[in-house]
Symmetry: D2
Subunit: 363 residues, 4 copies
């Protein structure tokens, strides 16, 4: 072992286009630039607890930058600090973090790169506080992580959602219908906002701007009167009415997901059929937003993040997360990224731009 350093990388949480590009960049730069050894824990933090891993070499990561998914597997349920095990036929949650740390020690691993969203980064922070040399890479489709301009995977999801809007547009117009597309975004409306702008939605409903059904109906009718007998609505899954209940983010993720998808669009459709009297159809984009190959933007960002993460480790910037600020990649404390969500600012230029070109937020 002597001089050669050995690091581990893992991917946690939901699928996200660009994971493989990060893994490749971490592996290649660790080997090419620093002569390190690299292993990958399998299925997120589970592999760290179970000591389940594969060595990562230049060969292992060859040709994966443009592929979707993660060659390491993932899990969005396994938290070493609250690890699900079965004892006496009972499901219990126990703290297995020491076991995970012991595994790292046995494997001679000095550093850990965690690629994940706020759930995984919380865990990363906890490990950091227990002395592990951790560097984070921000991953979330939803783009709702503070302390970075953009997370990788986000622009690919926007692409997918925009393409869906393009498709729904033609049918809406041919059949004089309201077409609703429900996209991801439980606490933040970034995907809905961006896809809505790119796909020419007439109404964009996001958690940050509670909507009134009447205002949505108004917009639809206004269009109808101008001869546009159809409307396209994009709604984030966490969108809510003015007097509706807000979905409260559980910053420490639980093992099971308490919220069922698909509700926001369906509810709105019922409201509109009743109030506007127009045929309305809902499409829930769901998993289609998470999968598939990353677009070039995300391939590049992922590569820069992966390389920067190893650089940060090499220069001793533990407990940080790599982050895009303007045109530059910088390292910021993980704790800054996870202590609060990055929400859409209702007064930002981008919301203003959407309104200026005639889109309604139902407010």
């Amino acid at each position: 072992m002597s001089g050669t350093k050995k690091i581990a990388v893992l991917t946690g949480g939901g699928d996200c286009p660009g994971l493989n590009a990060v893994i490749r960049a971490v592996t290649k730069s660790a080997i090419n630039v620093y002569g390190m050894e690299v292993i990958g824990f399998l299925d997120g933090f589970k592999g760290m607890v179970e000591k389940d891993y594969i060595p990562l070499t230049l060969e292992t990561v060859s040709g994966i930058a443009h592929t979707g998914g993660t060659i390491l597997g993932s899990s969005n349920r396994d938290n070493p600090f609250r690890y699900l095990t079965v004892e006496d036929e009972q499901e219990v949650f126990t703290d297995q973090s020491d076991r995970a740390i012991e595994n790292m020690r046995e494997l001679g691993i000095q550093g850990l790169i965690v690629i994940g969203g706020d759930g995984s980064l919380h865990i990363a922070q906890e490990f950091y506080e227990k002395g592990i040399k951790v560097v984070g890479v921000p991953k979330t489709i939803d783009n709702d992580l503070s302390a970075t301009d953009v997370t990788f995977g986000f622009h690919t999801a926007v692409d997918t959602a925009t393409e869906a809007l393009d498709r729904l547009h033609t049918t809406a117009e041919s059949h004089h219908r309201i077409m609703i597309l429900e996209v991801m975004g439980r606490y933040a409306g970034w995907i809905a906002l961006h896809a809505g702008m790119a796909g020419g939605a007439d109404v964009i409903l996001i958690p940050e701007i509670p909507y009134q059904v009447d205002r949505v109906v108004e917009q639809v009718k206004h269009r109808y009167e101008k001869g546009k007998k159809f409307s396209i609505i994009v709604v984030a899954e966490g969108a809510r009415e003015v007097d509706g209940e807000m979905v409260v983010k559980q910053m420490v993720p639980q093992s099971h997901d308490p919220i069922r998808l698909g509700g926001a669009g369906e509810k709105l459709a019922q409201q509109l059929e009743k109030s506007a009297g127009m045929e309305t159809r809902v499409t829930v984009l769901g998993h289609l937003q998470r999968g598939g190959a990353p677009i070039p933007y995300d391939r590049i960002l992922s590569t820069r993040y992966g390389v920067a993460a190893v650089e940060a480790f090499a220069r001793g910037a533990y407990g940080t997360m790599v982050s895009l600020r303007g045109s530059d990649i910088v390292a910021v404390p993980i704790i800054d990224a996870i202590e609060k969500l990055k929400n859409v600012d209702p007064d930002s230029d981008i919301v203003r731009a959407a309104k200026a070109v005639g889109m309604s937020f139902g407010d």
Copy 2:
């Protein structure tokens, strides 16, 4: 008017990529080759009853070949022979076909090009039997029309469904899940079969081959044992179990659609979660299959169909539908196209090929 002939074109039924390319080809060839005048009835047969139409000129149809939807609008509910009207606040169905024919006479229209699926072609046939000079153009996403090798729009729908499978694939693999994609195909499994083959599905379930849940579970487990801890299943909305009830095609379409989408995939997911004990997710592709721009294959086929339809009218081949046979466009009696569905033959080379490369049909 004298020597100049005047024809009308309309688009009936659900949205389908390539409608605009047919409209353009009908219009351009009628004007360029035969010096005819062309009008387009709006919103399918409704425009014929209500005398609602627009003139179609070279300018009107310029630049629309690669666009989705239909510039004429459509309707999949309005049948002139059973036309919904409101009398004394009561909904009643009355025969308005004579009114439609009278409208044609008043407008000086000698021929009618009907672009539609089996519902619209049934109506076209009825008009033909009442003396109208009708030519049909076969349109259905589902590809289930007899008497033609391919309907336009089908290959675009297959593309969309294949892309969805590609996306689900990465997530299935990353999370060790079963991912189910439900696609269109109430009576025929063409989309599921083609997309399944192109998208590398592990299981393909179609109406023509009733499935047994046990066999599907077997395939999933077989893969698991070989180290492939995920499976991709594509299921046509009309897929059914061996002892399940078959969806019976109502060859004369009713005004309202009695079958709700989304059931087949959801039902299967519940069965699999129970039997295979694996996390399973369902995506219902729905309207995304109908909209969007036609792929080049469909742009070309639509153009050939449109031109051939006008040719058929010009040479007096009334009551026919244009049809692709091998590499050629021919005209066949509409009646041959609609008297029975074109189903997937379980013994065809294409099903055999899918099985040979390891795909299961659950039989």
Copy 3:
């Protein structure tokens, strides 16, 4: 060895989307359905002469159906019957076919699947005539093989060329220019014809219909006078003027390619700048047409071809090539496929359709 049969597969000639899907289908069906063993010769016929090969297993071919290129490598220069070797520092061509056959014998290979265009199929036929149990799979971007409706890879190339036309369209219109796209098609104009129709070209020039520059200028000026100050022209590399020299197909391919690409478009541009006085730009699509992932149509066709080729071998249909006829895959004698080219028929419905919608062929 005893009962188990062993077959070899190779890919010859230029790159073509779908090669890997055929290799996968051959391998999977040979193993799954017939319990055969499969090897792949590397770099086309060269691997057969040099005894350079890899075993093909279910693992080897997993996940390659949607990838471009060929995992076996290819070569469009190595003909065992006229094999380039260096003796005494001199390049000489010698017959190495017996050596290739001896290699097959030593490896215990009973059958050979040749995936290739007319050059490779000629060689396949020669081996068949020397007693080798050969089955061919028709591959050519150009779609100019007789005895099959479609070759795999063709529709993907049409997609690529159509997308290029879509892109050039916007620039042509913005800058009031003539944009020329030169596509493949030395002897047959299938790509130009199909892409031209799908991409809305104003002029389509193909080898089968010699053009007159004056007629092209006429079309461009006619458009200009109607207010369309731009034109899009797609030209096959083998397009020629009425009094121009036809490119004569060398049915037995030589080792080096005597024709340089890029001439047809450039020549036409010079003619047009002079005659029409409009700014003209040429784009040569070149290799972009050959590479990349196959579209779903080609993934399916390739899979069917691969399975059918093994079936043909299994039932003893040696010396045949699999072929698409309408909706069916059949086997036809290789000799029928290669004795003459399949050209575009100037009187076919598809050319008629292109002309009917206003496209000019310069004739």
Copy 4:
């Protein structure tokens, strides 16, 4: 006229995806938010000199956000301050800027939005210095404008170039070739750098980092020895050898383009065929990079820019250009944007990242 303000918009320079989205955003926000009237000068500054324009209404700009090109037409040759006219059959350049200003006065136009690259922005600045209320929108495929993080159209061009690299990759690998892709970038290597990273190029040659052929050969041979018998090279058109002549930017654009495209790739190919002894092919992407529909990223950026430009005019920020800084749109003096090019910094994290994953810049 009284209180209503009237503004004009024009698009100058080469085609660029997103122009129409800017025009739409300018028009919609001017009308919706400020109640202004909007006209569009045709064919860039030429329309301003010739008083050639169209009114822009909500209808005019409906549905154009996702289309390529510009509905206003463009020109990259007409500079009002050095305007080409023919006098006595002689081509002469005269200053027509006063005539252009007089036209604006006659039309009652108070403000001018110039959408263009550095050439057009130079002209905009000159008009501003003569008292015209100008706001600029930064447009260049090349992304080489100072004072903004990103110009619209750039990421679409990167997408196109990346897709081309993906295609060339398969052929390079199948045929053991070096494939060279020449992309735009006469003075700055942004497209080559981004596309090279996203498309997994082995060598990236850009104007900012002069290359040595020997180093390129080294990289190619190094790969060959590791069993990777192919290489992908992306070269900016302005790339040059260490001792080569740099292409000097003419900051005031001339009326005719003195540099022929296609040289850099072809020259390198000849060098490599000789030095590396490997088959090498060149593809010049050319106009394909400029045309086509903008990707969602560019649709959004264009919309924000268009709205922000009108806002800047409304609040009196004349002589500024809208600009992306991090996540925000701000206004900066035009003069800051055009006084020097934005070049790739050889020491930036993105170049370092590319090198870390094994890409060579030939230095």
